[in-house]
């Protein structure tokens, strides 16, 4: 029957486009990464033997471990707050959504206005006579401070994405469940743990998945605020490609990011699937 083909015809262009512009380059990345003068795994051997790779890996994981949980907790709090729908809540919703529209480059520049030696934090502290000379947050002498400034900037910038997804989940919860719970005399805490949290789980999982994936791609904020003082995987990819002119090493790095990405999504999705089916049956 002709009609059966309609949905496939509608989807085909999008799939073809993605196959050409995502699929083909992805295949090429594999080829490049596995091409070297020192054999099939040459690039990866070089990568594994360099301290920088492990450093970048460590920093990326550390940043993810700090940023993602902080964002989840903040976003949950914000979502419950906005969901009270007090007067003027749409304005607050807009303020929270602002960073959604800002690039990592812009967010990095914003935090630079605050934390740079001539920045507002130093100016305020100095005018209050709390410090005598500016505090330095950047430069490779101050890696620990740099790390926290980066983490803070990312938390500021990307919490709204988690917030929006959780708020959407929160608003889709049927009010009747809560009314029924009231009828049975559930306490507030019991309502939260027994009804809201389970129903919110899919949203929380999607938000976590998206945020974890993006955390492994963290680039702009780190690159602008710390350069290679704090190497991260995406930053190293960029460095090897642009500064060292070595697309093969860049591809090897990119492939590591892709691999971690795939492992993380696989982990989340199997976990999420299982929960979903439980909920449905």
């Amino acid at each position: 029957m002709r009609r059966k083909w309609i949905p496939f015809l509608l989807i085909l262009p999008a799939v073809l486009y993605l196959a050409v512009l995502m699929g083909y380059p992805l295949f090429e990345t594999f080829r490049l990464a596995f091409t070297s003068n020192e054999g099939f795994f040459g690039n990866f051997r070089r990568l594994m033997e360099s301290g920088e790779f492990w450093n970048a890996m460590k920093n990326t994981l550390l940043l993810t471990a700090v940023i993602v949980p902080a964002q989840l907790i903040l976003a949950l709090g914000l979502a419950f707050f906005v969901n009270w729908k007090f007067r003027g809540y749409t304005m607050i919703l807009y303020f929270i959504a602002i960073p959604l529209a800002l690039s990592d480059v812009t967010a990095a520049l914003m935090s630079y206005t605050i934390f740079s030696p001539n920045g507002y934090l130093n100016k305020v502290l100095m005018s209050l006579n709390l410090i005598e000379r500016p505090l330095y947050f950047f430069g490779y002498m101050f890696k620990a401070r740099e790390f926290w400034v980066i983490a803070l900037t990312e938390i500021w910038r990307a919490t709204p994405l988690v917030f929006i997804i959780i708020l959407a989940g929160l608003q889709s919860i049927n009010r009747e469940y809560l009314e029924a719970a009231d009828l049975f005399g559930f306490s507030r805490w019991k309502k939260f743990t027994k009804i809201i949290l389970p129903l919110l789980k899919p949203s929380i999982m999607s938000a976590l998945l998206l945020r974890t994936l993006f955390a492994f791609q963290i680039f702009g904020v780190v690159w602008l605020l710390a350069g290679r003082d704090i190497p991260v995987l995406a930053g190293e990819t960029y460095y090897w490609y642009t500064f060292m002119n070595d697309p093969k090493m860049a591809s090897a790095y990119a492939l590591v990011i892709a691999l971690v990405t795939i492992i993380v999504s696989w982990f989340y999705i199997t976990f999420l699937r299982a929960k979903h089916l439980e909920g449905a049956r």
């Binding site: 309609i6 607050i92 807009y94 690039s103 520049l109 929006i164 997804i165 708020l167 591809s251 990405t261």
Partner: protein, 265 residues
């Protein structure tokens, strides 16, 4: 009364947390350099448009802004042309492999442009697309397309199929019913998605900096050149990038929640 106070208190904290950095960068971009480097002056004694003007005219920010806008518009055009039918099909038809397609769209979103940008350069060299606006737009479209498919399918699913069926009863074909009934109803939601897609392209920095040298978009331009300039130019650049994005989000704030409601469901 307590609850009222609590709400106001929290609102103030939340607003300050999200607005202060924005306020500071705008302020810094308007502060004369002598005031900026004076540690005793928190607020400037006068404001100046000097930095913004120089960034636009002397440092090539104007050209980069134009490139950014072109890239965003072209990539939105491509991704909607291809993504809209797919989004519609996912909502309105039942067919085998539907969930796999939705899932793979989501997975494509998670493939970093970093991974594909490097070989894209090689492909573009062969196709004479290297260092062109169109090339960046094609790459951005591949980033936006999965988003468009998922979001438009959620927009369409918000419009009851019965309207279309009613139209078909009155003799419209399915395509006509879509054009005359569903599309107009979906338009606001689609416009909101388009604006969000614009922002995604406007902000993307990695692919643009790798794929081009002379025709860089604004963030790529800033990442590569303006970073070597004095601080106040960086702030001017940040302000130029922030303001349009914030204005756009203001217009679509009503749709933000429903747009993200679909993720992974």
């Amino acid at each position: 009364m307590m609850r009222r106070f609590f709400i106001v208190f929290l609102s103030v904290i939340v607003s300050l947390w999200f607005l202060t950095p924005v306020f500071f960068i705008v302020l810094a971009s308007l502060t004369p350099s002598s005031d900026y480097y004076d540690p005793n002056k928190i607020l400037p004694s006068s404001l100046t448009l000097d930095h913004l003007y120089k960034l636009f005219v002397t440092l090539g920010g104007g050209k980069a802004t134009l490139t950014s806008i072109q890239v965003a518009l072209v990539s939105i055009g491509i991704s909607f042309l291809l993504g809209l039918p797919a989004g519609y099909a996912i909502t309105r038809y039942v067919f085998p492999g539907k969930n796999a397609i939705r899932l793979s769209m989501l997975m494509t979103r998670s493939i970093p442009l970093i991974v594909v940008a490097v070989p894209l350069v090689v492909l573009y060299m062969r196709l004479n697309l290297a260092d062109t606006t169109l090339g960046v737009a094609l790459a951005h479209a591949s980033m936006i397309l999965p988003f468009v498919v998922l979001i438009t399918s959620s927009v369409f699913s918000g419009i009851s199929v019965e309207y279309e069926e009613a139209g078909m009863v009155f003799g419209l074909s399915r395509f006509q019913a879509f054009l005359r009934i569903t599309l107009p109803l979906a338009l606001p939601g689609l416009a909101a998605s388009a604006i969000f897609a614009f922002i995604m392209s406007w902000n993307e920095v990695f692919a643009s900096s790798i794929l081009t040298l002379t025709n860089r978009t604004l963030p790529a331009h800033i990442l590569n050149t303006a970073m070597a300039s004095p601080d106040y130019f960086k702030f001017a650049a940040g302000t130029i990038m922030a303001i349009p994005a914030m204005v756009f989000i203001f217009f679509i704030r009503k749709y933000l929640v429903s747009m993200w409601g679909i993720t992974l469901k």
